[in-house]
């Protein structure tokens, strides 16, 4: 019950606030429909909505093409180094698209971007690619979400029962026709689901369009909401009203996605062991496919990382790399008191908070698993609501929920933890469910038949078996929290600043190299965490198997 309140209160307060003339608590606030009229009918808001949908659809489609091609190359061909490439393919998803955006600003800003300057030196073309554009926003998103599409489609391709395809070969269809007539329809539900998930993620993202679109007058709903919330004079009630538009978009996307997922049960073709698919022998072409995957990794990871490292060592962003331009100051600033607070906060929230959330989700999964029937289904649906609510809106809702309460939660780490808890509840509980499902009932019952009590059996059998999955969940939550900016940006105070918020503010104040230094630090920490998690718990490997 308490869970229901915690989950639904922020959403309710957003809807309530959207009908008011002032923020909750202000004495002269009254009811109005004006916010809704503006948010739903005024030309600039309608065009922002169209931009949002168009951007989401473009990114989702292109990500599927890129990610799907790579998934096919790695799952079905004899391209050299497939397993290593597959592991590396997960990395872009772990680096937030805010960091990728920064890196691509360094690479492709109109004048000073490294790529543009380099190409200009060769050809004289002033700007070969301007990152401040619709194409730039699409590029950054696609580099990030192609990795997501890869994971989903790779798993789907791997799980198609080989004998289904073999049967198609045996009735006389070649590889191309088999792919088109058998494989593609079999993974179609996965493709549809992945499209919608990416669509919803992109539609609620504010950081990329704010950084890359706002300077050239391209607004999406999230960037407009952020503008209304953060830029004085702020119009929080209008932000709330346009937030409700975004909620509808996200809810429709999520409902469609769940419908496809339910549909896909019919296609369950996982047979486990013994079904190895036929590999397509590419001959010389296998070097070309290797090159293609490597090119993606170059654009999504290596080049951006290099650009960030170089950019973070500069006094100011310039393509003229003279010795005098280099400095270590940006890193020195990281260790000044204010920024050190952000570093400790981030590590504390991601590490300690991540661990606490892991425990909570595992307990919730354990508790929900025992609640069967209608009530269980209600709770199941309630847990996906916060996932569907855009992070910015969740931030607004949390402010309004807690600012009026006598409990001093606003402005503390606790409100950030609540936001992270809500943001990741769907993912966390589902992962914990999966972990418990790995333990077959027989194993627990066998322990009881040798004299172990219910609790003993849980501790001796279930817990050791799900341990790696639990640690993997912690790793993922660490990364999600460590990278989180959308909800944090509205909820933090100077005392509770985190690395992404400091980075964001440096970008706002034009100190790009300092932002780069933070991005490099963040990326390095993520790399270390991923490396350790893979080493100890095979986190990456298991996420490929799913």
């Amino acid at each position: 019950m308490l869970l229901l309140v915690v989950i639904l209160a922020p959403v309710a307060s957003v809807f309530y606030g959207s009908f008011r003339t002032g923020p909750p608590g202000s004495p002269d606030a009254g009811f109005t429909l004006q916010n809704w009229v503006t948010a739903y009918f005024s030309p600039s808001y309608v065009s922002a909505l169209i931009n949002t949908v168009w951007l989401g659809a473009t990114v989702a489609a292109l990500s599927l093409v890129v990610g799907g091609t790579i998934a096919w190359i790695i799952a079905r061909t004899d391209t050299p180094g497939r397993m290593q490439l597959a592991l590396l393919m997960i990395v872009p998803l772990m680096i937030s698209n805010l960091i990728t955006t920064l890196a691509w600003i360094a690479l492709a800003a109109p004048n000073a971007g490294f790529i543009n300057a380099y190409v200009r030196g060769w050809t004289g073309v002033r700007t070969i690619f301007n990152i401040y554009s619709f194409a730039g926003i699409v590029l950054v998103h696609v580099l990030h979400y192609a990795s997501f599409a890869f994971l989903a489609l790779f798993a789907a391709l791997k799980s198609v029962d080989a004998s289904l395809e073999e049967a198609s070969y045996m009735v006389g269809y070649g590889p191309v026709q088999t792919s088109a007539r058998m494989t593609l329809p079999l993974i179609a539900p996965t493709i549809a689901t992945t499209f919608l998930v990416i669509f919803v993620f992109v539609a609620e993202n504010f950081s990329v369009p704010t950084l890359l679109g706002t300077p050239v007058g391209f607004q999406t709903l999230p960037s407009l909401i952020y503008y209304n919330m953060a830029v004085t004079p702020s119009q929080p009630n209008l932000a709330a009203a346009s937030g409700t538009v975004l909620v509808w978009v996200a809810i429709i996307g999520t409902i469609l996605q769940r419908r496809f997922t339910r549909h896909s049960d019919r296609y369950v073709t996982v047979t486990g062991k013994g079904s190895r698919q036929r590999e397509v022998r590419l001959g010389q072409w296998r070097y070309a496919t290797f090159g293609l995957v490597a090119l993606y990794l170059l654009l999504a990871v290596a080049l951006p990382y290099l650009a960030l490292v170089i950019g973070s060592l500069l006094n100011f962003l310039t393509p003229n790399l003279r010795w005098s331009a280099f400095t270590l100051d940006n890193y020195r600033v990281l260790f000044t008191e204010d920024n050190l607070t952000a570093v400790t906060n981030s590590l504390l929230l991601a590490g300690g908070g991540g661990l606490a959330l892991t425990a909570i989700y595992v307990l919730m999964s354990f508790a929900l698993g025992r609640v069967r029937g209608a009530w269980g289904r209600v709770t199941d649906y309630v847990t996906i609501i916060p996932t569907a609510v855009p992070a910015l809106i969740l931030g607004v809702g949390l402010i309004w929920t807690f600012v009026g309460l006598p409990v001093p939660i606003y402005g503390t780490m606790a409100i950030l933890m609540i936001a992270y808890f809500l943001r990741n509840i769907g993912y966390g509980v589902r992962q914990a469910d999966n972990a418990f499902n790995q333990v077959s009932g027989d194993l627990v019952e066998a322990a009881r038949m040798t004299g172990a009590s219910r609790l003993r059996a849980f501790l001796d059998v279930s817990v050791p078996i799900i341990k790696p999955a639990i640690f993997s969940l912690w790793t993922m939550l660490f990364i999600f929290i460590f990278m989180e900016v959308s909800a944090t940006i509205l909820l933090y105070t100077p005392a509770t600043r985190t690395m992404p918020t400091v980075l964001w503010n440096y970008m706002g104040s034009g100190s790009q190299p300092r932002a780069f230094a933070i991005a490099v630090a963040q990326a390095n920490i993520i790399f270390i965490v991923l490396y350790l998690a893979e080493r100890w718990f095979k986190t990456l490997r298991t996420s490929l198997d799913k």
């Binding site: 077959s440 027989d442 194993l443 019952e445 066998a446 009881r448 038949m449 004299g451 172990a452 050791p464």
Partner: protein, 356 residues
């Protein structure tokens, strides 16, 4: 002495009666096999005895102690019952030794005594030297022996076996079936084994129970059940069988003659008087039909048959015969070809009248 007493056991899931008021006893040292098709209630029965499922009604007594009665249930860990699971349910994160030793940790045993027990039992099941292996590195047969050892080391009053042979391939299954019986006897355990495989049931059982739709159709030794099936279902389910329907034309105290169709007359040894003119179903096992020999004058139950189908099995063949327009199954090593005519004789003592 009955180690296990099941009285009026009933288990209802929603609208279905998975077990419908069944009762049986298992004597000390006996292997009781419950056999039946899927959904007959055998698994639920086993789980009720184990305590993994609570009966809707009925009383279960183990070793004179009531473990389940309406409103009362002893948890599984306190029943002193061992169980071998269909999947073996070996804990993947524990070695063979740790799997077997797990239950002993809660007995007040010194580490040395426990080690000795585990080593001893592993030797008995032929797994010495496998102590430090993990279950995933063992073959199916070896896993099954570890599962048995894990239960046997605790010397349970009763051992339950949930289709432990069904995951093995055919050849190994036959071998393990015989080994399993020997090991259970060697440990002197009383066991309840469930299976859907009637051949496995006959090979393993001291006593068999045939179940269908939550009810017991027949209880008896494998011989009794094979030779004198209580009804059509049991005759059909256990072993191969042919059925004929006829009308009694002559009857005396020990036998009756039935007219089957228009021309076929069959004499049947009967245990109870048959009403002349009444209709009956006769069950004939393949081994009740002899193929070959010359036609004798005036011999009873002697017919000419035509071979419709032969299934060669090495030591003998299974034949489907046409006898006066009726189809009968027979075993023989006569090496007939399909379409060949032959003489058959049906032993009157091996024909059983079965109630529909």
């Amino acid at each position: 002495m009955a180690v296990l007493k099941v009285e009026n056991l009933t288990k209802v899931f929603g609208a279905t009666r998975a077990i419908d008021n069944i009762s049986f006893d298992v004597e000390l040292g006996d292997i009781m096999v419950i056999v039946g098709g899927s959904g007959c209630g055998k698994t639920t029965t086993l789980r009720c005895i184990a305590g993994l499922e609570d009966p809707t009604d009925g009383v279960i007594t183990v070793d004179g102690k009531v473990v389940a009665a309406p409103g009362r249930s002893v948890p599984p860990e306190q029943r002193g019952i061992g169980m071998v699971f269909q999947s073996y349910a070996l804990w993947p994160h524990r070695t063979v030794f740790e799997n077997v030793a797990y239950g002993l940790q809660r007995r007040n045993l010194s580490a040395d005594a426990a080690r000795e027990k585990v080593t001893g039992i592993l030797k008995q099941v032929g797994l010495s030297g496998f102590e430090d292996r993990y279950p995933s590195t063992l073959s199916g047969g070896q896993q099954q022996r570890v599962a048995l050892a894990r239960s046997a080391v605790l010397q349970p009053r009763l051992l339950l076996l949930d289709e432990p042979l069904s995951n093995l391939d055919a050849k190994l299954r036959e071998q393990m079936r015989d080994e399993l019986r020997e090991m259970i006897k060697m440990f002197g355990m009383t066991a309840v084994h469930i299976t859907h495989d009637q051949a496995e049931a006959m090979a393993l059982a001291d006593t068999m129970i045939c179940m269908r739709s939550g009810r017991i159709e027949q209880v008896g030794s494998p011989r009794e059940i094979y030779r004198t099936p209580a009804n059509f279902y049991v005759a059909d389910f256990i072993g191969a069988c042919s059925f004929l329907t006829g009308v009694a034309v002559e009857t005396d105290d020990e036998s009756s003659t039935f007219l089957i169709g228009d021309a076929m007359r069959l004499r049947v040894r009967t245990r109870a008087p048959v009403q002349p003119g009444s209709k009956s179903v006769m069950a004939i096992r393949p081994d009740g039909i002899q193929i070959g020999g010359a036609m004798e004058a005036n011999a009873e139950n002697q017919f000419t048959a035509t071979t419709l189908r032969e299934t060669f099995l090495g030591s003998h063949s299974e034949y489907l015969l046409d006898v006066g327009g009726h189809r009968l199954k027979a075993d023989s090593s006569a090496d007939l070809t399909v379409g060949q005519a032959c003489r058959v004789r049906i032993d009157p003592a091996k024909i059983v009248l079965v109630p529909g």
